[in-house]
Amino acid sequence: MELTAATTVRKPVAEVFAFWRDLRNLPAFMGHLEEVRTTGERTSHWVADAPFGKNVEWDAEITEEVSAEKIAWRSTGDADVPNGGTVLFVPAPDGESTEVHVGLVYDIPGGAIGKAVARYFGEEPHQQLDDDLRRFKQVLETGEVVRSDGAPWGKRARKEFPQRPAQPLSDAEWEKGPDA
């Protein structure tokens, strides 16, 4: 499965590139990612929350890097769902913003895992990447993922539709947190 999406962030290319290049930042805005740990100059360890209730983990390496222009990576070893991605950073015509063009590739296996992954992405898999990029833009432009009463848990907003009512959370809901 191949997904592509783009957004424009009102920040200089160098800053936008640097934020993405620090892969530890990715879980702040990518819905399915729990954690990305850097394990070397070009290698990293990724943890995603999986549709079947346990986490999926894999190692990845950066395969191409051109400062303030491009990053590409791919999973290594025997990842359950081999995957890779490319991000292009392009100065926008307004002279102050950065276009971010993302392409992701998932090599979805057969069997139970493949079915679970397909179910996870649903009928509109690109929507998740669109939402990820919207949050990427929010974090860079405003400092954090924006929350509302209907979608109080930031990057989990999409999962919550139809949402809780647009009224403040009770103390009990607040304590239970997003996975209640």
Partner: protein, 391 residues
């Protein structure tokens, strides 16, 4: 706290809901001292806006006192104890739309942007108490409200103006003003305003302040037309006269130079069969909006004129007079109001006495009486023009 909530189509209910909490670092919590019922709240209650949920706190016109601020709000921008009016569109102040002062199109404040995008092509800003399509934010017909990006939107009121004088800076005064502002009014202009509700009244006052030679008010409610007439505008009752003929009479056959639609998607029409046509199409969902006022404004406007739309539309309209619009070089301008752009200059006009927003208030009720307020406003009982609620 107590809050007025959506309880299904044609039903609002004041209930106990939890007090708001800080969810983002740039939030503030405001203790509300005055709030109001807006005509656009009626669109929600009448069931014309999708993605409402039972329990949604309503209200997007409110002001009060800051009682808590998040860690990301700089003290020189907003502090506990400040008296503020809160603009209805939630805007981040940092994106390209905000940089262009298009605050109601803010690119970052709608957590449900993906849903809004499906409906509108591109997403729109978050709005308080205005469906999940605009973010699912609890509204301000309540004792307290959480205000995101509190360092961007809220306007501090440091003079001793009353709540009633400044409350409408939250929405309807800037909305009416933007309707006139988009008309690029010249001293020779005759401006016609469809709808003499609160926004229409303020569009008329704004057209006058911006120098229009004559301002015409079009409605069917005698009390609303009388209110416009008392403010110096020329009333036209569409149930009593043919609007087009009357407008030609009032403009020496030219038609109004600038036309403002302050009605929107639930328009009624003097012609029963056209009204019925749209009502039926709306009922079977093959048209979501009834655009009589917009059609008539386009047909009435003089060639080369401007039609400015501030009445709310939500979806699709039928029989849009594209031929008149195109062949007669009309300019169509519109937008949910970019309130933050207008708050300060309008506050100054209020301070100078050029605009008196209090003139439209007909009812002041307690928050507990919100349901009665909605009833009166919707059914135009007791000459109801504008209801202010006191939590």
């Amino acid at each position: 706290m107590r809050a007025n909530t959506w309880a299904g189509r044609n039903k609002v209910e004041v209930r106990d809901v939890p007090d708001p909490k800080i969810l983002n670092s740039r939030d503030a919590i405001v203790r509300i001292t005055s709030t109001a019922i807006c005509g656009s709240d009626l669109h929600l209650v009448d069931g014309y806006v999708p993605t409402m949920q039972d329990g949604d706190v309503l209200g997007h016109e409110f002001m009060g006192e800051v009682v808590e601020v998040g860690s990301g709000v700089a003290a020189d921008r907003l502090s506990v104890g400040d008296r503020v009016v809160v603009p209805f569109p939630i805007a981040c102040g940092a994106c390209a739309a905000c940089a262009a002062e298009l605050y109601s199109c803010c690119e970052n404040t709608n957590p449900n942007a993906g849903i809004a995008e499906k409906m509108f092509g591109h997403p729109v800003a978050g709005i308080f108490g205005y469906s999940h399509l605009t973010g699912g934010y609890a509204g301000g017909q309540a004792q307290y409200a959480r205000v995101p990006f509190a360092d961007v939107g809220p306007l501090k009121i440091e003079s001793d103006l009353t709540d009633e004088q400044v409350l409408f800076l939250s929405d309807i005064l800037p909305t009416g003003y933007m309707g006139a502002d988009m008309c690029d009014i010249q001293p020779s202009d005759v401006v016609a305003v469809w709808g003499a509700g609160p926004v229409g009244q303020f569009a008329m006052d704004s057209a006058r302040v911006l120098g229009a030679a004559k301002v015409i008010a079009i409605d069917k409610e005698p009390y609303r037309l009388r209110m416009a007439e008392r403010a110096g505008h020329v009333p036209v009752n569409f149930e009593e006269v043919d609007v087009r003929s009357r407008l030609l009479e009032l403009t020496g056959g030219r038609g109004p130079d600038k036309c403002i639609d302050a009605v929107g998607l639930e328009a009624t029409h003097g012609s029963a069969h056209i009204s019925a046509y749209d009502r039926v199409k709306q009922a079977v969902k093959s048209e979501t909006d009834r655009p009589h006022a917009l059609r008539q404004a386009i047909m009435s406007c003089r060639s080369g004129g401007v039609v400015s739309v501030i009445g709310v539309y939500g979806g699709l309209v039928d029989k849009f007079p594209a031929g008149a619009w195109m062949n007669r070089s009309l300019t169509l301008r519109t937008g949910q109001c970019h309130v933050q752009r207008y708050m300060k200059p309008l506050l100054e006009r209020i301070e100078r006495g050029e605009l008196d927003p209090t003139r439209i208030i007909t009812h002041t009720l307690s928050l507990e009486e919100a349901e009665r307020g909605f009833e009166m406003f919707k059914n135009k009982q007791d000459d109801c023009e504008k209801v202010v609620l006191k939590p």
